[in-house]
Amino acid sequence: MSQLVEMLKPDFLLHHALYGSVMMGFVVPLVGVYFLLRRLVFWGVALPQVSAAGIAFALMLQGLGCTWLAGGESGEKHLAIIGSVVFTGLSILFLAYMERRGKGASEGRIGALYALAWAASILFVAANAAGETEMLGLLKGEIVAISESDFHAMLDIFGLIAVAMFLFQREFLLVSYDRDMAVTLGRRVLLWDVLLYLIVGLTISLGVMTVGPLVIFGFLVAPPMAALPWARGMTSLSVLASLCGGASTLAGFYVSYTRDLPLGPVAVCVACSLLVLSWLARAAAGRRVPV
């Protein structure tokens, strides 16, 4: 208990890592809610891996001598996030376009994209032996070593994403739930879809840079699923999922700190435990589980 109190003090050595990971825990499930409701959960597997491939590609370019692209450690990180956002954004647009055409097997496309992204990540790293350590660090998530400026940038971006998710909840709900209705109401469906996908891409890219692909996938899926059986509307689903994600990262950080375990996997295990508890409680209450 004393360690928990120590963790929550402002002068705690890892307070940036703690606040950053809890912020990630609050915000990523807000986006994950739409993955779940639009039945695009498998996008959550492929896109973080694509994002990682984007990071590897950016670092490879720098390793191959394109130093004019970025200078210094901070420039390297900016280049990595640009690579991540571009790769993720293009993949989302590709998947969304194919989804709208409604032809072919959606799961097959996502599986192929995942395999390609993983293979490409390995090849990009192989072509840039000097950057291998850097890349591995990024893929595992470097939140423990996050710098002051990166921490504040991360808080700002995640804060904006959270505000946008609540402010435009009606639009995102309408185009997700009943697209045809949205068109007859004269709403610009494509515009809202693109905005949602941009937010998804940014969340995944930033998340992968800070906590790694595994954690991002876990937090896109587990907290919204844990919240769904108890939700009484979109706002309650978003708030419950966000609270579940924030609580999981806080508990995960505590376990990780006290037991000297890696933060990401512990946080994902805590989020999945909450999911199992949620479903058991729902079943015990004699109510059906919606998914």
Binding site: E171, M181, T184, R232, G233
Partner: protein, 238 residues
């Protein structure tokens, strides 16, 4: 002379490159109650979706005009099975979607936008008692009432319904049809209703569009029922 609500001239309708209906020539008058009928896969929904602007007219001329200069304001009632039950929405939430026509961030932040309209429309459809119940838990007839209430919150000139009576018992069908008839008279609405059969509703229609084998044939209900024309088209006694 009154402008028709919807006009097609030598139009081809369909998806992608393949037309479902060809050489469509129709004029739907304002304030009519039109039954769009035909067998499964005959192009009824394609016709409705083109009218609503959900898919473009592939070839020929298509125009629609409401009371203003532009197209009419549509209240759309989709097939209820198309709405995914995974969404944790109650009936009130579903009806409120009809008020999401504009961004209106400030009224939204104050939480005062559209509440009275939603309550009025739920009451008009006899669905006030369903407001707090999960939409996915409602029966077919209850869902249909809620979806009609949602369409009414858009304050439409035209109510467009896609198979609203499918999978609903006869008593509920009659109640829903009575409701639609009342709305048409009280609110001077035009109604377009897709159905794959014609039984209880045929007495309400002022006009019938029959889709079959790539063609759409339109006439007044009286004309279509006379001399067993509709029976012949449906290959059953009506």
């Amino acid at each position: 002379m009154n402008e028709p609500l919807v006009r097609f001239r030598h139009a081809s309708l369909g998806y992608g490159a393949a037309p479902v209906l060809t050489d469509v020539n129709l004029e739907i008058p304002a304030q009519s109650f039109v039954g769009i009928l035909g067998h499964n896969g005959s192009g009824k929904t394609t016709l409705l979706k083109t009218i609503l602007g959900l898919i473009p007219c592939m070839k020929g001329h298509f125009s629609s005009r409401g009371a203003g200069l532009g197209p009419p304001r549509y209240g759309y009632v989709p097939q209820k099975e198309r709405l995914d039950p995974i969404y944790p929405l109650n009936a009130y939430d579903v009806v409120a979607m009809g008020t999401y026509r504009k961004l209106e961030l400030f009224p939204r932040l104050r939480g005062k936008d559209g509440r009275h309209l939603v309550e009025r429309c739920l009451a008009a459809c006899g669905a006030s008692h369903l407001a707090r119940r999960p939409f996915s838990d409602l029966s077919g007839g209850q869902k249909q009432r809620v979806l009609i209430a949602r369409a009414l919150t858009t304050e439409p000139e035209v109510l467009a319904l896609d198979e609203p009576l499918a999978g609903i018992d006869i008593t509920t069908q009659k109640a829903l049809l009575k409701l639609l008839k009342e709305f048409k008279e009280e609110r001077r609405l035009s109604i377009l209703m897709v159905s794959h059969r014609v039984q209880a509703e045929k007495g309400l229609f002022t006009h019938i569009v029959f889709c079959d084998e790539g063609q759409a044939l339109m006439g007044t209900t009286q004309g279509m029922l006379a001399h067993g024309k509709l029976s012949e088209l449906f290959r059953t006694e009506l």
